[in-house]
Symmetry: C2
Subunit: 144 residues, 2 copies
């Protein structure tokens, strides 16, 4: 969640040029909790950058991921989702409506366990939970 100035510095430091599109894509990710995929980002920016193509989205999220500004999520859909919140947290997906939410909780104990149970040098982790969100739970009660 850096401001444009910091992002500009970081891009330059890593040898990438700074463009309005790149800042816009990063900002779009900062200003949502919906964990959008490429198409969602595209649709959101379309009114402001009508000439921008999906390929630019893909290339940009690639770069943002490479320089550690975003996380790539893989909840089991056909498309990837992107998250500007790179702090250690898990995600939970509603199997009914498809929304993806954050779970802010500490997984340090889990991580310690993993080191004990494997000979890997662990760099990164990704926790996904699947269930029914409260809204969809309410809908089901109403329907029955």
């Amino acid at each position: 969640m850096l401001d444009n100035q910091k992002v500009t510095e970081l891009l330059r430091k890593k040898g990438f040029k700074v463009t309005p599109q790149r800042l816009a894509i990063y900002n779009a990710l900062c200003n949502t909790k919906a964990h959008p995929n490429a198409e969602m980002i595209f649709n959101k920016l379309q009114p402001y950058y009508p000439t921008m193509s999906l390929a630019t989205i893909y290339k940009t999220v690639d770069i943002l991921h490479e320089i550690g500004l975003i996380t790539i999520l893989n909840v089991g859909e056909d498309a990837f989702r992107y998250d500007a919140n790179t702090s250690s947290h898990a995600h939970i997906c509603c199997t009914s409506c498809g929304r993806v939410d954050d779970i802010m909780m500490d997984f340090n104990e889990c991580l310690g366990e993993v080191s004990k149970h494997s000979s890997y040098d662990v760099h990164r982790h990704q926790f996904y939970f699947y269930g029914t969100c409260s809204e969809c739970q309410a809908k089901k009660v109403k329907a029955s």
Copy 2:
């Protein structure tokens, strides 16, 4: 990890027909720890079922998943992987060689935490770890 007789029973009970292809695909998954994707399964069975097509693999793993015999993994590659071990366990992927291993450990504490931190009704979860496997660690030491 059921034997063919049990699988046959289960398929029939769920309204699916039993075919040699289905049993072969399930057995192939039972007899490996490599968490293969569709193409790997296809290549493995090719010598024994030379006329079988990839579409059959996809349709079959879909059915096997539907009746709860296998788990679908999504480690961030372009293809899905499949696992006949449906017991609660995590997976760890080597970012260097791409192999995927099991981590047999208990995540019940984690799951309890999640219920506390979210209003979801949690059904299912999937934990992925990423790092360097011991073989690739050794290679790196040698190379340096």
